[in-house]
Point group: D2
């Protein structure tokens, strides 16, 4: 149960997206619900995939999530401004793994890892990462 | 990237909760959003914790989630009735791990694992599982 | 501020959809959040529009919401099974108004009214209700 | 069905809160779901109530929503930064009505009205607005 510190430092990340705790994200214990953290991770992922050109609204090459792991590190209160850090942890054949860190100020409140699969929106099947995909992802690899 | 089949059979689970895909759970690709799967997992967890007496609305002994892992196995469409299966995979000092399977009919659409920590709602600190807690959890251990 | 009783009786409705309170729907006051009621209303609306053939996943004729009014009548607790009642209150040129009642057992916890506009998914413009549309809607008119 | 222009000008509002469209807010038609607009309205309301001292996390005097009306005026896309404007439209005995405008840049995408009731969190009953409440609300009255 002892969590490591992997991914808890802002310098671990290569791209940043802004998020903000909504009142709606609170649960009956008065803190941000566990599900909302996965929404923050999605917000970071979506901004990153759009930024690198992996996602366009009408594009045929899309991405679907295959696996998500999230470590909850700190309670989170309302109101709060968040920053979501992203890096690339693994580049596979048709899949890749992103590292995600959610920060409130300098405090890392959660770390996550998401494995995504390149996906053809018409055939609804996985497709291989092409050379351009690989080169883009490589430039965000965690050091 | 090849997912194992662990947790994909209904007989792996010891407790069941009902869920239902909402129209609201769909995203712009026309299938259930990845976040909604974590809501289904939460629904299963909440029903289970209430069923075994680990959660009451005003109780001082509560549970907080420390880690969630989820493997997305199948696209999910609207409308759909779901069943969420639960078992206990590990009993620690102050924490325990639940196995979760989300099924649409006989098809396992996702498996998840959630590590929860027993938590004092007043001190907001982790507390040890007591003998009664352990005995209850043990009766739901995955075989 | 005194709410009338309009729409609070089950016999006011002509179509029913099932809903269920999720743990996720609770807020920090321990009751169902106001937003969740609008999700229940959407669930009822979506089931009704699908039932009468006004919504198909790939259909060009869709519906968009122009106005929603909701009267919150009772606190709602977890867990709970809900039924959402629907009727047609008005049939216009390109728009129509649905009446919605949300019930927990025999208790009406909220009433709502939603005005929807027939919409062409390609041109993204409003379109007139055709004769078939009108005839279908007329058969669900509130008495 | 012709919507007036009431509440569509930024100068109609007396307090502003920031919001941001999340990827999660999109639905299968590729635009922001109708429910998300009600979440933006809640975000604005929560920020305003906190700002004027009507809401504190542990306060006994709380507010519950009795009625919400929302007019959807424009489709909304991702990504987008929003501003939510608030004013006071009516001060009653134990209730008050807020005007809400949701803007993307200079464009008003929705207007809403929410009637809230002052509420005692212990007795769970409505309570009268006191003189201080009235004086605070009066300073945000729509002109």
């Amino acid at each position: 149960m002892s969590l490591g510190t992997e991914g808890t430092r802002p310098e671990d990340y290569r791209y940043w997206a802004d998020e903000r705790v909504r009142f709606y994200d609170l649960d009956l214990m008065g803190h941000v619900n566990n599900v909302a953290y996965t929404i923050y991770a999605e917000s970071g992922r979506a901004a990153f995939l759009r930024h690198i050109g992996f996602w366009t609204e009408t594009g045929r090459r899309q991405n679907v999530i295959a696996r998500l792991e999230i470590d909850y590190r700190q309670e989170l209160k309302y109101p709060n401004e968040l920053r979501v850090g992203l890096n690339v942890q693994r580049i596979g054949g048709s899949s890749f793994t992103l590292g995600i860190g959610i920060f409130a100020g300098a405090v890392c409140v959660a770390t996550a890892r998401a494995t995504l699969v390149r996906f053809d929106a018409e055939t609804r099947k996985a497709i291989a990462l092409n050379d351009e995909d690989r080169s883009i992802l490589a430039s965000y690899l965690a050091s």
